[in-house]
């Protein structure tokens, strides 16, 4: 499930942020000056994959609430949106939202690095909270089962 979430987010994101191209040739290209941006995308996608898969496990098997799933999603969306400027899809999305999209673009681009850092922080925090909850909930269920 992690791989599904990771690749499901990673591939569209690298297309949106113009590291993956389909015309005139199929190309994956990360310039030297874009390495840090690219790595932050990889980290965000990996954390999102982890958080989402663990949240879904909790919801499906432990009947937990969706709160942590929501916070994980917030972290992902912030991380995904930051720096997604100026390619064709990004512009098309902006134009749907009009002036709000324009303001969002400027915020997401001007504060790209802080937003990515915040996104990673939210996802890491969410991950640790889920791990803590999983340890507790699984232990309770195991004890109940044993008893």
């Amino acid at each position: 499930m992690f791989i599904v979430f990771f690749s499901g987010l990673f591939l569209p994101l690298i297309y949106l942020t113009e590291y993956l191209f389909f015309e005139p040739y199929f190309l994956f290209y990360v310039a030297e000056y874009e390495i840090l941006n690219f790595l932050s995308i990889v980290v965000i996608c990996a954390l999102t994959g982890l958080v989402l898969s663990m949240s879904i496990f909790r919801i499906r098997f432990l009947q937990a609430s969706t709160k942590k799933l929501r916070s994980g999603l917030v972290g992902s969306i912030i991380g995904v949106g930051a720096g997604a400027c100026c390619g064709g899809i990004g512009v098309a999305l902006i134009s749907i939202f009009g002036a709000v999209g324009g303001v969002a673009t400027s915020v997401l681009t001007n504060f790209e690095i802080p937003l990515r850092v915040a996104s990673i922080a939210i996802l890491v925090f969410t991950y640790f909270m889920i791990v803590k909850d999983l340890n507790r909930e699984c232990k309770v269920k195991f004890d109940k089962f044993r008893n």
Binding site: F21, E23, P24, L27, A31, C86, G87, V91, T109, N110
Partner: protein, 323 residues
């Protein structure tokens, strides 16, 4: 009314009759100029000597202001006289007397060609002599792209391939591409004479994008286009956060050898707004949605679109495929 055109005895006889009306006189002036224009020895950077004769007749009121101006218009448009054509400042209806005096002194040999040309330049700059558009602003179509309002291209005019980049000055990826990948393309394709490079505006990230594009053309008017673009790339700081506001753009101009008032007026009065808008329409008409977007045009008008900040090897591969 034009009475005497040439001092040559035969021609004087032909033109002296008053039966010719004004239109015929004007026609004969131009015809005479065309005949002389066809003589190869007339061409060259120096002012042809027969122009001096005309100047002398005008200074002596042998020909009217209107006829002299029309003659000069023809000479300037045909580049027989070389002056700056695209510096029209104020429209002045009358020819100042000092210009006529200069023409007379020049005909007498009292002043040199340059001083006479300064007078002609004044007539051009003040709209008294109407000139056609500078040849660089003539319609320029390459591969169906109207580049007549683009900035000057980089590379050789005889380069077979053309690379057109649609860019926004507030687009980070455009700025990064121009600062990095473009240098490799300069080395491999542009300086080697394989391709020439045009930069067109597609301002889509806010008002400051439009203003920055206008500022670049205001700098172009004073011959500092590429230098100003360099400054814009170096000063890039985001989208709509003030680095490309009018005040900031005017400040940047101070670091260049620009006439500050002229630049300020150009930007303040949006003198280049139509040009920027025109380039944007060119982009939209060719399906440009985001920036950077490139088009590589081959010698047979083959067109390949490259979307996004792709590496130089893609451009080389496209050109290889076109060959």
């Amino acid at each position: 009314m034009c009475q005497i055109i040439f001092k040559n005895e035969n021609c004087v006889f032909f033109f002296k009759t008053r039966k010719h009306n004004g239109f015929m006189n004007y026609f004969l002036v131009i015809l005479g100029l065309i005949v002389i224009f066809s003589i190869p020895s007339v061409f060259g950077e120096e002012i042809p000597s027969w122009v001096k004769n005309s100047a002398g007749w005008w200074a002596n009121d042998s020909i009217t202001d209107e006829d002299f101006v029309k003659g000069i218009e023809f000479l300037v448009n045909e580049e027989i006289i070389q002056v700056e054509k695209n510096l029209i400042q104020n429209k002045t209806p009358e020819i100042p007397s000092w210009v006529k005096n200069s023409a007379g002194w020049w005909a007498d040999g009292t002043i040199n060609d340059r001083d006479f040309l300064n007078g002609i330049q004044y007539l051009v700059s003040n709209g008294i002599v109407s000139v056609s558009q500078d040849s660089s602003y003539d319609k320029l179509f390459i591969g169906g792209f109207d580049l007549s309002n683009a900035g000057p291209f980089e590379g050789n005019s005889y380069a077979q391939y053309t690379i057109i980049m649609f860019s926004d000055h507030q687009c980070e990826k455009c700025v990064n591409w121009l600062s990095h990948e473009k240098k490799i393309i300069d080395e491999k394709l542009i300086h080697s004479g394989i391709a020439k490079f045009f930069l067109l505006d597609y301002p889509m990230l806010g008002e400051d994008s439009v203003t920055a594009a206008e500022a670049s053309y205001c700098a172009l008017e004073q011959g500092n286009y590429f230098e100003y673009l360099d400054i814009l790339n170096k000063k890039y700081a985001g989208i709509q956060n003030g680095w490309a506001s009018v005040n900031a753009l005017v400040e940047y101009s101070k670091t260049l050898d620009l006439n500050f008032d002229e630049f300020d007026n150009c930007l303040f009065w949006d003198q280049q707004a139509l040009r920027v808008d025109y380039n944007k329409k060119v982009a939209l008409s060719h399906g440009v949605v985001g920036t950077p977007t490139f088009f590589v045009i081959g010698p047979d008008d083959q067109i390949e679109k490259i979307v996004g900040p792709q590496p130089p090897m893609i451009f080389e591969a496209v050109i290889m495929e076109m060959k």
